[in-house]
Structure formats: C-alpha cells, structure tokens
Point group: C2
C-alpha cells in the first residue's frame, strides 16, 4: 500500500522537515517525530513555537553580529569587559567555546562563516565590512585596539585570516592570532608531523 | 559572561526544545538550531508548522489505531486487502517494516506501545480493548479471522503477546506469531546460542 511512504501526509511532512536537518536521516526523523507525537499537545506546540521564533524574533547584536534578543548582546553590553580587545570568530559556537575557557575578557566579532569558494561563500557574505567600520570608529585610538583572529587552522581559515588582515592592518590596529602547537599534555609520539614541525619552528623561550 | 548559557533566550529555548528529543544532546541541538537559523525564514516557518500540525491535525484510524489523516488509514480503506488477517504490532514503524517486505496483504492493529511495568505502561495504556471489540464485531465469523502477534522477542514483547492471547483466544480467532530462528543466510558459527537452540527445537520439515 505505501512502500517507503507514510500513511499520513502530516506525518510525512513532519518527517521530511526533520530529516532536512544535517545528519538526520529519514529513519531517525521518523523516530523523533513519533517521539514528539507521544508528548502532550502543549509540548509539541511549545517545540513548534520555539522553532518559529527563530524565524521571527532572533536579532543580531549591532556591534559584534552575534545572535541576541535585542540590539546589543550581553557581552557587548557588559561595561566590565575590555572593548578594545576584539576576538574575531567564525560563529557563535566559537564564542561559546572561548567563553567556556574563562580566559578572555574582551569582546567578539562574529563573521557568520568563513571564506570558502567551494561553498560559494565570499568576503561579502561575511560580516567583514561591519568589522572594518567598527574599527574605523576608533579613529586615532585604533592603535590601542587589538584584533585576535581566532579562525580555524585549515586553508579556508587561513585565507579568511589573511583577507581580514589586509583589510584591517591599514587602520593601525594590532592584529594577532591564536597560538598553535602541541596541546598541553600532548605526547610527541602521537602528534601529527605538521603540528610537531610547526611547534618546533614556532618554539618559545623556556620560562621555568 | 554566559558560562554554559546562550546570548539569546530565543536561541536557548530552541536549543532546549531540540535537545529534549531522544539521542540529541545540547551540542548537537545547538548545531541543528544554528543550521535552521541559516535557512530562509519561510523554511523555518514551514518546519515549525509541520511540527505544530502533529499536535493539531494528526488522527488515528478508528479501526487499526494507526496514524492517519482521516478516520480511516489507507490500509484499512483498501478493499483489496485481506481484512480477516490482522497483524498486531507495537508501532507504526513496525507497520512500515512489514509493508516494506511486500509479503503481507492483510491489515494491522497498532498497540501504540508494549506492556512494560518498568516504564509504567500497563495493558490499559495500549489499544488492546480496541482490538477486542474489533474482533468481537466479527461475531460468528471469528473462526475465519487470524491474528498474527508480531511483537518483539524480548520479555516485554512475550508478556504482551501472552496477555493479548489470553484476551482474544476465547473469541474463537486463530492466533499465530512470527517464525523465529536463524536468519536466512546466517552462519551457525556466528549465531547466538539461544537463537540456535530455539531453531533446533522448532525445526521444520525439510522441503527440497
């Protein structure tokens, strides 16, 4: 009767919607949808409403372009943070990773992606122009500003870092990047040779 | 600023809703929500609407209790099927598995679960009473009806099968269950001993 199909169009629509998410196939989607169906009606409505608000209510911080509920995100609105140390990251997930370290008291700039010709993402698709005007607004004080390029270490990340560096270095800001090398506690024996080689080339003074 | 928290309540609500699904942790949920956020607004709305319709529009076939768009599911509404061979299954996923074999031309009865004292699921939580009244409606012709108990082979499945058997055997219907044994093409060497033992005990006449 229904090979590979569903007995209900509503069920099928929900399964297709859920299986459009990355990493979720139609079998998992069916399992998730049937789980939802077993929940009380108000839970299902709450789920749907939470998702719908992503379309209607999410805004972006006008300063750092991070997802926010208002015009300004909690980090940019926090006067106790150092607003002259700006960490440039690919996405909000990276903001959360850096925040989780508890080691950074500056602010962020969220690019919203990375330059990737294969995926059709160019500089104009990212929040790079916003970074430039944000830095231009410092005017004469730009020399007190440090921009940390905290992008991934692959080719796309390096390309994006280099592109941004060329755009912002003329403004007079300091530009730095993350230290790379062996992880703390890593064993030489198991390190990949690229990382080990770079760790030797970028060796640091020993501070006992 | 926001350890383990999110810069936006809307984002947090959506992540919590998605991570309430089985097998999806908060990191995966964040990844899925950020993926949704990158979609066009109409896609997000469509997703939310598809889920909401699960709460508002899903109905159950009045005969077999399967999810349906109307009063009767496509299988019960198909007069070319054998309505006197009723396959009792735990969930709609089992219906789809049996349908995928292409070997069954009867109809179904969906229990909506399995008797499981540990999970607080008793007989009254399942569609067993509906099965009884469905069979009672056959009256004198019940002896022409076959009920196939196609439940899982674990303790809960066996318990549920036995409970249903006691309820429906007095009505005069034939009750059968799935053949169990080594899978077709299975190697004796790798079979678990319980399955192998039962396959020997339930040996069949050889038909060359």
């Amino acid at each position: 009767m229904f090979n590979e199909k569903y007995p209900s169009q509503i069920l099928q629509d929900a399964v297709e919607a859920v299986s459009s998410l990355p990493g979720i196939g139609s079998r998992s989607a069916l399992r998730l949808v049937l789980h939802l169906l077993r929940q009380p009606e108000e839970n299902i409505r709450h789920f749907a409403h939470s998702v719908e608000r992503l379309a209607t209510d999410v805004r972006y911080c006008r300063t750092c372009m991070m997802i926010a509920d208002g015009d300004v995100c909690p980090i940019c609105g926090d006067s106790s943070r150092d607003h002259r140390t700006i960490c440039v990251v690919e996405s909000i997930r990276d903001v959360m990773s850096v925040e989780a370290t508890g080691q950074f008291r500056g602010v962020y700039h969220v690019l919203g992606g990375i330059i990737s010709p294969i995926n059709g993402v160019g500089p104009s698709d990212l929040n790079i122009a916003q970074l430039e005007s944000r830095l231009q607004a410092f005017g004469e004080e730009a020399s007190d500003v440090e921009v940390i390029l905290a992008l991934s270490g692959d080719v796309e990340g390096e390309t994006t870092s280099f592109y941004i560096y060329r755009k912002i270095a003329p403004l007079g800001v300091k530009v730095s990047t993350l230290a790379r090398g062996l992880g703390f506690g890593d064993d030489l024996e198991y390190a990949d040779s690229l990382t080990l080689g770079r760790s030797i080339a970028a060796r640091q003074p020993f501070r006992p």
